[in-house]
Symmetry: C2
Subunit: 186 residues, 2 copies
């Protein structure tokens, strides 16, 4: 069991966040959005503003756990730098609020949400909408990505060691996917 999980997809220009909680057998989106900082401002100001906004989101949503995308530095260095800086701020905010943080790689998130580590971005986003019982894919994409992180961690937390299908999350995940699809009448 878990309370509220807040996913964070770190970035300086756009930092996605999305919170989910469990309602019976269903996951529910509690809030999601994107924190943007203007490219016209200085980098230090943007980072200070991002940290303040992250603090506000955490304070308003009151999550029990944070799931933050693990930064992998294969991309171009400028992007990687921004993501590293943004993630550092998110982790510091979490620590100050006493909230535990877990990291997930993009592949782990895809595996948890779609059941396939090589899934396309749009497949993840479609599945996020289904799992959360939403009629549309959450926009912008950064918010959907953050919700996917939160879902990934929610499954992990939900698979507590004293439950039959632990430690794997697949059985519960499959069940949830089935439930979500059934609701849609498929």
């Amino acid at each position: 069991m878990f309370g509220l999980v807040l996913g964070i997809d770190p970035g300086v220009s756009r930092c996605g966040y999305g919170a989910v909680r469990r309602e019976g057998a269903q996951l529910e989106a509690v809030g999601a959005g994107v924190i943007r900082t203007p490219g016209s401002d200085t980098l230090p100001n943007r980072l200070a503003s991002l940290e303040e906004e992250l603090g506000r989101v955490v304070s308003e949503l009151g999550p029990d756990a944070l799931a933050v995308e693990r930064v992998l530095f294969q991309a171009n260095t400028r992007t990687a730098m921004s993501v590293g800086q943004a993630s550092g701020l998110a982790l510091a905010v979490a620590a100050r609020a006493g909230i535990p943080v877990t990291h997930y790689s993009p592949n782990e998130v895809k595996l948890a949400v779609v059941g396939y580590g090589g899934a396309e971005k749009h497949q993840v986003q479609t599945m996020v909408a289904r799992l959360l019982g939403l009629h549309e894919v959450p926009r912008p994409p950064d918010a959907a990505d953050a919700l996917a992180l939160a879902i990934c961690h929610a499954w992990r937390l939900d698979a507590t060691p004293d439950e039959p299908d632990a430690p794997g999350t697949a059985p519960r995940l499959s069940a949830a996917i089935q439930t979500a699809l059934a609701k849609e009448g498929r």
Copy 2:
């Protein structure tokens, strides 16, 4: 002219800082040290602790400008990630205190302090001691590196456009190096 310049060599395990100001024709070290965070603690806690300590250093030293090492991601990704996260915190702290930040690459610092972009680390540290009129190389090395950043920015600030040898910093630097060496009786 400039007031106090604080150099920061960002890192999570060890974050060097060092402040310099001008006393007549001589640069003077005002304070330097290293903020360490224990590897036994969680990364979020370490980052929160680093940010708090950086805030304390800035508040106690009251710098007019910050010089932060520009992060280049050619090294191993784990180190690069840590440096990115630490630098993000330093920039946010600076912005909150309303202090302008300038970035310098390691090569720019070497060029400013030793006059040669390919200088060895120990040459930079020896020159830092000379330029600041210190009898020994500042320890640990992270503190010396941070002082080198501060010296680099101090020269840049000192070369104001209305002075004869601006915009280059080399003439003033050469003069200072001569002065430093003369003091040592060489």
